[in-house]
Symmetry: C2
Subunit: 151 residues, 2 copies
């Protein structure tokens, strides 16, 4: 069925513990896959305001990810350095490859990115630049100490 | 990693038994997910020449599908009838829902569609408009008789 984008569930903000949420607060995700009743992978329309990051740089133990830039421009940051992605460019991030990635909107226009990814309840995400790990039980420090639950 | 679209593996044509392949011969799929080493879902850049269909109308027992129109215009055909999808429109097809779908390019320009889907080795695809079923062992008639293997 055609997806009514205007009626799809939307999420704005970040669930990271402070201060790691700060660069990601102006991101909006429109959940297209959920709107269509898909369960095997998620598809989001990501809107990144100027100055906003898609995420802290991270990689997933069990979840593949794919991004396709629809409008604007983002900087893809990985271990290999920085690469500009413009409308029509795309990138993939296989699970289990220990190379963190993130998209930064350093431009002056909103960047719009189609994101696809799986959701594995046993996934662990590693954040190599900050003291953060996402586990099935929530965010923890690298030493395993939990962050306080968000209010 | 950024995907080099020009170097991604490409497939032109259709594996359907004749005559069901005829409307799908001018379709090209650029395998973006495979180019990036993704294994949990496939992502293709589908190019449909004028007059070409994405597929015979079908639904999957075990594979979710999602399409996002990037350029041109296609007609989505389902049990509910026909819906035009233009650039920026998208649709989703949850597995196990017995409502066949296909995209037809009835326009004069090439239509470009981003397709996402899973690959389940036990999937069966039903084709309600024609005498065709796709099984893990290949294409069969509705009565289960196999079609001859393609040369």
């Amino acid at each position: 069925m055609k997806i009514d984008i205007d009626k799809a569930p939307t999420w704005v903000g970040s669930g990271y513990p402070a201060p790691f949420d700060a660069p990601c607060l102006d991101r909006k995700r429109v959940r297209l896959g959920a709107a269509a009743g898909l369960s095997q992978f998620g598809v989001n329309l990501l809107h990144l305001q100027p100055g906003t990051w898609s995420s802290q740089r991270h990689w997933h133990s069990r979840e593949d990810e794919f991004v396709y830039v629809l409008a604007g421009e983002v900087v893809l940051v990985t271990n290999a350095g920085e690469t500009v992605l413009r409308a029509g460019d795309c990138a993939g991030f296989p699970h289990g490859v220990a190379d963190g990635h993130q998209l930064q909107n350093r431009g002056t226009e909103v960047a719009v990115v189609l994101e696809v990814g799986t959701d594995d309840k046993q996934d662990v995400a590693e954040y190599p630049d900050v003291d953060l790990r996402a586990t099935p039980d929530g965010y923890v420090h690298r030493d395993g100490t939990p962050y306080p639950p968000r209010k």
